[in-house]
């Protein structure tokens, strides 16, 4: 019997772990591959050939650009709102304890914690009751609501890590609350704010479920994409759009991750 150190993994364990890891990355690689396929039926495997044709075709489509523009503007405005509301909340909640503090945290998390279906239908019910026309601003309102907690989490974590003696030192030297915020708190929490904003942007851009309820006749890029899924024609273009969506959402998240890593290192 071969002696093995008691805590060495068996070959099976190691294989299993790496297999799961590979399984988790397979679909993304598939999508990237399929964006270049020459076949009309996009899911054909192996792909008969590779081409950039579909990229050009997607580029020329006005409806895709329309949807892209809408998604970007919604994400931009929603992120801005989320940054403002999230920072205010973080500043208020960073220190001290008061009754209801836990409830506020729960309230902030609720839009993300409850299934999107519920947030979506709730917003729709409210929109219909208030006799508002769903459109750009209803989409933004929905997105901003669940993006706030993302900015909040980032900023409040940074604020709580900041030694209170910095603020005291600043005031001790003659700076009032405003100046302390401008010269000390803001520069120190800028990276957290940025990271939170980028995560919020990515979340808003990619969001589909709540958007489906609040968009009315507008079409964001995810909605465009979702509609395409039930149409049999021109599938390869969908693959191109998929790659674009993936890149636009992945990059901010990656940057946010690097930012927060650097800040806490």
């Amino acid at each position: 019997m071969r002696f093995r150190r008691w805590n060495q993994p068996s070959l099976g364990a190691r294989l299993a772990a790496y297999a799961v890891l590979a399984f988790m990355h397979l679909p993304v690689l598939v999508i990237i591959l399929y964006a270049f396929t020459t076949a009309d039926r996009t899911y054909e495997f192996p792909p008969p050939g590779l081409t950039l044709h579909w990229f050009a075709a997607a580029f020329a489509r006005a409806d895709i650009w329309e949807a892209m523009r809408l998604s970007l503007s919604v994400a931009a405005v929603a992120t801005l709102l989320a940054i403002v509301l999230g920072s205010l909340t973080a500043l208020g909640m960073a220190r001290g304890t008061f009754r209801g503090k836990e409830s506020i945290t729960v309230l902030l998390v609720l839009p993300i914690a409850l299934p999107g279906i519920i947030t979506g239908i709730a917003l729709l019910a409210a929109i219909k009751s208030a006799r508002i026309d769903p459109g750009f601003w209803t989409i933004v309102a929905g997105h901003a609501t669940f993006c706030v907690v993302i900015v909040y989490n980032n900023v409040v974590a940074r604020l709580r890590r900041m030694p209170h003696s910095w603020i005291e030192a600043s005031m001790d030297l003659g700076a009032d609350g405003w100046q302390t915020f401008r010269y000390i708190v803001l520069p120190q929490s800028a990276s957290a704010l940025l990271a939170g904003g980028m995560l919020a942007f990515a979340l808003s851009f990619d969001e589909i479920i709540v958007t489906l309820f609040t968009a009315g006749h507008e079409r964001t890029l995810p909605i465009w994409f979702f509609n395409e899924l039930f149409r049999p024609r021109e599938r390869p273009i969908t693959n191109v759009v998929a790659v674009v969506v993936m890149i636009v959402t992945f990059i901010p998240i990656l940057l946010a991750y690097r930012l927060t890593r650097r800040g806490s290192a």
């Binding site: 030694p163 003696s165 001790d172």
Partner: protein, 343 residues
């Protein structure tokens, strides 16, 4: 009569059940080097923070230079602080840190750069002006925070255990430097420390804190030779505190008293008394060699352990561990203490 630099009038600060500062009154004179001494949690740091304005008293009032500042925020008070963790702003250069005070008060860039550079020269750190605090050693950071606090020329400087993070040699150097600095500047220093040696060697007067109250406020010499409570006797110079039955037997009175270790002599058990003395018998439990002095732990018959600090003259080699020995001290060296609960 000129107003005191700092005055506490019956100040209390309470956190829930805990009385961090319990009806404290004191005055600090202008130009004094004042130390606040005590163990952690005794209230000394809270008092310092009350002076600076980082905390507000729950009752009582505080005056700076005769003016009531109880409700004033830190930036309105003519007081500056050197923090225990130095609190240097990491996103600014050393120069920008030091220049922070003048800068937020609206001075022009050329003006505050010049002033800050002068201050840095004063603490011999002019060459480090453009570095970041993270690139400096502990001792250098301490001097930067000192320069930063002094640039506003405050009449009162607060120091919150500023030497705690430094190693022994550096700490002793800084103690001398700070004392000289204070003398040169002529401003009031309020110094918080838990190290009684530091307080004794640097301060003009020391307030000894315990459980939120000041047990004794005196010059170092009086604190050392005439402690008024058992706590002060033990905390400042670790005296032997004699209470209860033993006290009654030795001194004839019921009140507790304290005897400094260096006032106790070691005699042979049968030796006759030398003048008006108190003495008792015990067995040697331990000896620690400290160079000029040796510290002897002697266990008495009644169970208490006395510490005697005896110069190393060579004759004490007669007393081995476990040997019987007589402890003797002059009656006048027994300092009566207040009959309070032993702390």
């Amino acid at each position: 009569m000129t107003a005191a630099a700092i005055e506490f009038r019956d100040v209390s600060r309470v956190y829930g059940e805990v009385r961090a500062v319990d009806r404290v009154s004191l005055t600090v004179q202008a130009g004094e080097f004042f130390a606040m001494l005590g163990p952690s949690g005794s209230g000394k740091t809270t008092c310092l923070r009350l002076i600076a304005g980082f905390e507000t008293p729950d009752s009582g009032s505080m005056l700076l230079d005769g003016r009531d500042v109880t409700d004033e925020p830190p930036y309105a008070r003519a007081v500056n602080t050197v923090f225990q963790d130095y609190a240097l702003f990491p996103h600014m250069s050393v120069l920008e840190n030091v220049a922070y005070g003048p800068r937020v008060r609206g001075q022009r860039k050329e003006a505050w750069r010049k002033r800050a550079l002068e201050m840095l020269e004063l603490v011999q750190l002019g060459a480090y002006a453009e570095r970041r605090p993270a690139q400096l050693s502990g001792g250098q950071r301490q001097r930067v925070s000192l320069a930063r606090a002094l640039i506003n020329q405050p009449p009162v400087l607060l120091l919150d255990e500023p030497l705690g993070a430094l190693d022994l040699k550096l700490r002793e150097e800084m103690q001398i430097e700070l004392k000289n600095l204070q003398r040169r500047l002529g401003i009031t220093f309020v110094f918080v420390t838990h190290d009684q040696g530091e307080a004794l060697s640097m301060a003009d007067r020391v307030a000894v804190f315990n459980h939120g109250r000041i047990e004794q406020l005196d010059t170092p010499r009086v604190l050392y030779t005439r402690p008024t409570t058992a706590f002060v006797a033990r905390f400042v110079g670790s005296a032997n505190v004699v209470t209860g039955e033993l006290a009654r037997r030795l001194s004839g009175r019921a009140e507790p008293f304290a005897v400094r270790a260096e006032n106790i002599r070691l005699r042979a058990p049968a030796a006759a008394a030398n003048g008006d003395t108190m003495s008792c018998l015990g067995d040697v439990a331990d000896v620690q060699y400290h160079g000029a002095l040796s510290r002897w732990q002697v266990r008495l018959e009644s169970g208490e352990v006395f510490a005697a600090a005896v110069p190393d003259t060579g004759t004490n080699g007669d007393f081995r561990i476990g040997a019987r020995v007589r402890l003797e001290w002059a009656r006048g060296d027994a300092v009566p203490l207040a009959a309070t609960e032993p702390s």
